[in-house]
Amino acid sequence: MTAARLIINEIKGYHRFLKFLMVLVGLGALASLVRFIFGLGVTTNLNDTYPWGLWISFDVVTAVPLAAGAFTLGAITHCFHIKKLEPLVRPAIVTGFLGYSLVSVGLLLDLGQPQRCWHTMVFWNPHSPMFEVSMCIMAYTTVLFLEFLSPVCERFGYHLPLRVLRTLEMPLVVAAAAISTLHQSSLGTFFLIAVDKLHSLWYNPLLPLLFWISAIFSGLSIIILEATMTHKWLGQEDESELLETLARIIPWVIGVYILVKAYALFFLSQGPFFDRPGMVALFAVETIAGVFVPFFMFMRKKVRTDNRLRAIAAGLLIFGLVLNRFNVSMYGMIHDGQVYIPSLVETLVTVGIIAAEILFFVLIAKYFPIFEHHPETVDYSIPDHFRKIEKEHGEHGKVGSEA
């Protein structure tokens, strides 16, 4: 009783925006309840022509690359050892962990037989990209969860698990990067089977590679956007110097993306490009507004150093990615005449999932040391048993675990 009262009092103190998000999450939960009671056919606008709709296109195919910040940044920071980026890592991990958990929710909602989701672990079909992706998502969510445990343990002062987690840190970062590479690209492999269905502006054998590269730059863009917003609205530290570093990496990645895309388009694609004006328009918007404009923006120092412009460029890049994933998984699929517009239930669920992501992020940031974490005071070197560094630096290591 008192606990409930405490919680209610706590919630009463929240900002209006958070309360609004809670309402959205509640509506989303209600909508998913409706979906489970009445079934997919009644509550969604899916049909035999459009077996996949908003939930696959957004909650899975788009949300996964948007959650890619964790693995990219982890790899850049730890493997290339650009230590100064460290303060951005934890928010990225939290975003990734939340993103993937919600991807799983979205996937579960979309299954016709959600109670059988464990079948993927029992009946293996390694020829299926879906099998590969679901395995990776399970593995990766576990990895992100372990990475996320660090701030939780710090919060509650559990020292022993912290030491274990610290030892696991590097293997986890490497595993995260390897697993992500696989499932980010396999999402592209999904659509390789749609040989005569996906329009040739998007269908080419390099689709998996393109999905992977675009996941990298969109993951980084999300970090930029997120850090800019948390600085503005959550009163967190201004990380612009670090974001500048990211903004310097991004155009390189986009550059590679453009080269691969051009090569795939001109040398590997088959079939006509200009047979459908609608497709051409979608493609033009995606590549011009979502790839080239941010590319040239990020190339300019003025944009990289300006908080607002940098966030706008990142936003455009994300817009391009979202449109690209929708084009590949929905609009680009050639269908005869029928149109698909998501139903109210589908929309509410997706909105609820997005709201949940933001809400949980803010709440976690509120109660756990996500931003207050000062990596300068923590020793991040791998415990080295061969050269006995640890012994000499005993005090040092301890400082790390208690920080």
Binding site: F38, G39, L40, G41, L46, N47, D48, P51, W52, A75, H78, C79, F80, H81, L111, G112, Q113, P114, Q115, R116, H119, T120, V122, F123, N125, P126, H127, S128, P129, M130, F131, E132, S134, M170, V173, V174, A175, A177, A178, T181, L182, S185, S186, G188, T189, F190, L192, I193, A194, V195, D196, K197, P205, P208, S381, I382, D384, R387, I389, E392
Partner: protein
């Protein structure tokens, strides 16, 4: 792959000669009866042609498509029997994460409803748009033509092939192909010089003969390559990529951390020697 091909060719296949089809729709009815499928409420002219029901569905595994066309200024009908093609290397089976679809050695591609998790990837993958979903149910499953697997295992012919008075022949694929070629050669003026299903999607266990251009009839333009190979060319790289990325990142971080550590050690040594010097003085 080649030994498999032999197996496909000895397995049973449908030879459907659309020039001999009268449009009686006996096959459609026989299919409904054998599979105990509900009738659908239909309306005239609510699809693209005269056919009913308007499309295959959870209740309709096969159906005769009607097409209007003009020949020498005369209005004529054409028919096309739509059903699962029972591909030699089925896309549906390759993408299903839980392996619910299987190509049997007898020929039909069958579906194990007990495994299916309802992801509907099979529907996205099938180049012929065959698998349909039970949109009417709260916990839906996939439905499609089973090639009457339960019948042919008992030595019977599929229901539609049994019911058809003229157009469907059922037997080993190699023989059906030979028969199709024989018919084309014997009456070249009657047939289009093409056997649909011979190479489509890497070959299917349902092959068609017709007098009309296939696309005009509503046959889908389908790649000749087997579909699973399209995804497999990427998926087979998975273990290699995993090891490469994991390995190179591990190496990289080992190097960078080693550099860092050496630097620190160096600093330490300098500091301590400095201290020692100071103490000595």
């Amino acid at each position: 792959m080649n030994s498999d091909l032999k197996e496909f060719n000895s397995a049973a296949a449908f030879l459907i000669d659309m020039t001999k089809c009268t449009g009686c729709r006996g096959c459609q009815v026989a299919c409904k009866q054998w599979n105990q499928l509900k009738g659908e409420k239909t309306r005239f002219f609510n699809g693209e042609g005269y056919q009913n029901p308007p499309s295959m569905s959870e209740y309709t595994f096969t159906r005769i498509k009607f097409r209007d066309y003009q020949k020498n200024g005369q209005n004529e009908f054409a028919f096309y029997k739509e059903m699962c093609m029972h591909c030699n290397e089925p896309a549906c089976a390759s993408v299903c994460p839980v392996g619910a679809f299987k190509k049997t050695k007898e020929g039909p591609v069958v579906y194990d409803a007990k495994r299916c998790i309802g992801c509907r990837f099979c529907m996205v993958a099938c180049p012929f748009g065959v698998p349909k979903y039970e949109w009417s149910k709260a916990f839906p499953l996939v439905r499609k033509c089973t090639g009457c697997y339960s019948r042919i295992r008992e030595g019977l012919k599929p229901a539609c092939a049994t019911a058809c008075p003229s157009a469907i022949t059922y037997g080993p694929r190699a023989e059906m192909l030979k028969e199709a070629e024989r018919r084309i050669a014997a009456r070249p003026e009657r047939y289009l010089k093409k056997i649909y299903g011979k190479e489509e999607a890497g070959g299917t266990s349902v092959i068609y003969l017709t007098a009309l251009p296939f696309d005009e009839l509503g046959f889908k333009q389908v790649t000749k390559r087997s579909l699973p190979s399209y995804t497999w060319q990427a998926l087979r790289l998975v273990p290699g990529i995993f090891l490469t990325v994991g390995g190179s990142l591990s190496l990289l971080s080992w190097f960078t951390h080693r550099k860092e550590r050496l630097k620190k050690e160096e600093e330490q040594r300098q500091a301590s020697s400095h201290k020692a010097k100071e103490e000595n003085q």
